[in-house]
Symmetry: C2
Subunit: 468 residues, 2 copies
């Protein structure tokens, strides 16, 4: 007879680490570093602190099983918001625990990444993670933690607190993992370079196992406006989300329910919508039956009178920043950037920003060099499964723009920011080809391709002139 | 200040349904049908019952929000093992609950698929799922369930039991979901056709919303030998798995610990290994310190005296079955199949089976038609991210085999069976390019490509002859 088990979320990702992006020692050290850096960047940006992030990788000698696969200590420190002491054990020692389960643009979204790095370290080296953090209040807390994987609970091995003399705020994480640094190095350095492109207000310091220092200095103190939390939009609703709103609502009638819980639904819109849905504005939300809720959700999807979600809550790169970052890192002969006006999919607002660059420091690779970003995270793997790749390779006819993909040095950049990025995997490496997003990337790339086309035409004319 | 939450696994997949393969109504109806069919096939094969599986999709009228997107009732019935009554609510109403968390080849592996279909149905239609099941004992149980998503617990709305007059065993699931059947139809029919290729001992009956009957009759009563559970292999061990073994072991000394808990480790191998690892065979397992465990795991990875895992526990298709299935479904002019001898990755045994087919009923598409299977599941999406696609398009030089990919009608088949398939996503659509697996697919395809090459050469020679 079959035996039935339940397993915890930590156990699930322990058994399926490839699904979380920890498939082998090289990929694991890359994923560990990126997950921790993304946590640090979120923690600084959300509070408007220009980020100072320090990453150090040291090889533990005497423990290598082969030449490259070795135990590495990875230490990441930031000057971000810090983690309140009572949340530190669960934030790092429990899967599906975090502060990013809200409708706000941030790199983190699953409540899994940092914990996964710690889990991977634990199962490969059996070492606890050290977390030092303060929110700037009177104490700095230092924890030594492990994860009870079968119960998905943190195990606190040590907890000390110190007086915070200077009002320091930030977090330092130190984890030991089995990794393959030499193999992962090109991707790690590339990740840092690309992060510097889209976060030029950040100081990134990286010290590798040989003691070499890589420094990406900030080129501006000016921080982008922090993203803000937004309310859900009616188009993104389903039966479960409405039920949850009703369960917690203080509203006594459907009219205030609509104007209170939803984004950009004012009194007039609410009255018109409720009339369309055949629901009395005076009806008490908690009196809706299950059938009423199904009808309400259907009406929300069909009613075309709702205003589009505003993208004011988003924090795009901006054309200047993107252009400056590309010029600084790649030094091209030509670059054109375009920020599309805000759009929406399934009730989530999003903004697409694209750029195309030609010549100068861009290498000739026989194909278009594609740089992809989502909520300011560089995506370095699985490009062939990403919506941007599909647009660049299947939907744009480059010949139409006088671009010979095989002989010209061309780089394309796409950045999507949203309150919800439709990642296709928890490893956050590629994005689903949602029709609205695909349309925006295509339209944006056509614009900048047209500019490149004019530039190439002028350039050829000038060269013709010179020859005479 | 940041607010911290924990969310349940059901809540996680509710918020991230694209990650589970339920990204839009067309994909959702496909995923629902495949997850339920895979559950039914597992339930029959594990007990050696020739599967009789019945799938019916009906459109609920009057509830459509657009032309195609509609509420559909999906009913899947099988003659499998059934689910014991006390486990029915959790098996279907709880994420990460199931009977497949063991080292045995099966389609199911995550404890998520069936529950995800039910969750998706609930959030789009607010309808409960109906489950009727019996293990062949005296009672047939009928449940009406919903999922408490925030707590990841089943909600039993109704439970009746009937006398099981005929000793029936099997399961019937009826779920209502919002789907887009017309758009999904080609993939659904293709999925059924490909399932018939690799499970020719199964009767599959499908009735579509228009009442059309698709019937895939079994062509043999002969069932493949059921896969068996195997013990873990030392090469697949890590600190966590060793700790769990030690926690539950009845063994009083390390010698019996090694021979009891591991696959193919006999007394002599155990003694030699323990000597290599510097651990006394008499040492009590429960007396090992954390450091001892780390050293033990390292020694297990380094010791080369362990016998390779046996693949006796696996249940491959077999060359005859694969050939027969291809001939029946595609009627090619030429087909060559090859079953590679067993191999292993990370301690998991696996067998690769490949085939190449040419001409006859195979359409000319300007490219190689790639059919991918894993543990007898057809994989229909994301082929460009799959290890088989990489081998077919990047690692094999087809010209070398006289194959002109653009003008010849060629189909390639790959099947991998293992106690653990390295899926890259919980949607089970593509497989990681694990080096050992990549090597086996490449070697297998080279073999069959060579046979096709000889065939094409002979064929051309014959045509030359005829011209004279
Ligand atoms: N360096 C840091 N500074 C401040 N808070 C942090 C830091 N690192 C982690 N946290 C907190 O711990 C929580 C859990 O982090 P974790 O990386 O596991 O998940 P996440 O960032 O929420 O989502 P994701 O899985 O997408 O990364 C975060 O939500 C955040 O509140
Ligand atoms: N038709 C069925 N007959 C017998 N048992 C079933 C059937 N459907 C589901 N089950 C039981 O319910 C459990 C949970 O099913 P579910 O599809 O959610 O997960 P799974 O099949 O274990 O893994 P996966 O997520 O990979 O499909 C199964 O492990 C199995 O024990
Ligand atoms: Mg994170
Ligand atoms: Mg299943």
């Amino acid at each position: 007879r079959e035996v039935f088990y339940e397993i915890s979320p930590a156990d699930f990702f322990y058994r399926n680490k490839d699904i979380a992006g920890f498939s082998n020692p090289a990929r694991a050290i890359y994923s560990t570093i990126r997950e921790l850096i993304e946590n640090s960047l979120d923690a600084s940006e959300l509070y408007g602190y220009p980020p100072d992030i320090y990453v150090r990788v040291t090889a533990d000698s005497g423990l290598s099983t082969t030449e490259n696969i070795n135990v590495y200590t990875i230490r990441v420190g930031d000057n971000g918001s810090g983690v309140p002491a009572r949340h530190i054990p669960s934030a790092f020692g429990q899967v599906f625990y975090g502060s990013k389960y809200k409708l706000r643009q941030s790199r983190g979204t699953f409540g899994l990444g940092g914990t996964m790095a710690i889990l991977y370290g634990q199962i490969t080296t059996n070492s606890p993670v050290k977390v030092i953090s303060s929110t700037g209040d009177r104490a700095i807390h230092e924890y030594e933690l492990m994860i009870d994987i079968q119960r998905n609970r943190p195990i606190v091995l040590k907890h000390k607190s110190y007086k915070n003399e200077d009002g320091w705020h930030g977090t330092v994480i130190e984890v030991k993992i089995e990794g393959d640094y030499p193999r992962a190095m090109p991707k790690i350095i590339e990740y840092l370079k690309q992060t510097a492109i889209v976060a030029p207000y950040a100081n990134l310091t990286f010290v590798d196992p040989k003691g070499r220092l890589y420094r990406f200095e900030r080129v501006t103190e000016e921080m982008p406006k922090p993203p803000t939390e937004t309310k859900p939009h009616p188009y993104g609703s389903d039966v479960e989300s409405i039920k949850r709103m009703i369960a917690v609502t203080p509203c006594k009638d459907m009219l205030s329910f609509m104007t209170t819980h939803f984004h950009k639904v004012g009194r007039i819109t609410a009255e018109k919508f409720l009339a369309f849905a055949g629901i009395s504005p005076k009806k008490r939300p908690k009196s809706l039956t299950n059938n009423d809720i199904v009808e309400l959700v259907k009406a929300m999807k069909e009613y075309d009178g709702f205003r589009s979600p505003s993208a004011d809550c988003l924090s795009p790169l901006g054309e200047n920043l993107l252009k400056a970052g590309i010029l600084k890192e790649l030094n091209p002969e030509f670059v054109s950037v375009r920020q599309r006006s805000p759009s929406v999919y399934s009730g989530y607002p999003f903004i697409v920003e694209v750029a195309i660059a030609y010549g100068g420091g861009i290498p000739k690779t026989g194909d278009i060099l594609l740089y992809r970003f989502a909520n300011r995270i560089p995506l370095l793997y699985d490009e062939a499964s990403d919506v941007s790749w599909k647009v660049v390779h299947q939907l744009i006819n480059w010949k139409h723009y006088n671009v010979d993909v095989q002989t010209m040095p061309i780089a394309v950049f796409t950045h999507i920011c949203s309150t919800k990025i439709p990642y296709r995997s928890v490893g956050k490496e590629f994005i689903a080809d949602i029709p609205e997003i695909e349309r925006e990337i295509l339209a944006g790339l056509r614009d900048v391709a047209r500019e490149l086309s004019s530039y190439l035409t002028r350039r050829r004319a000038i060269e013709m002139e010179k020859k005479r």
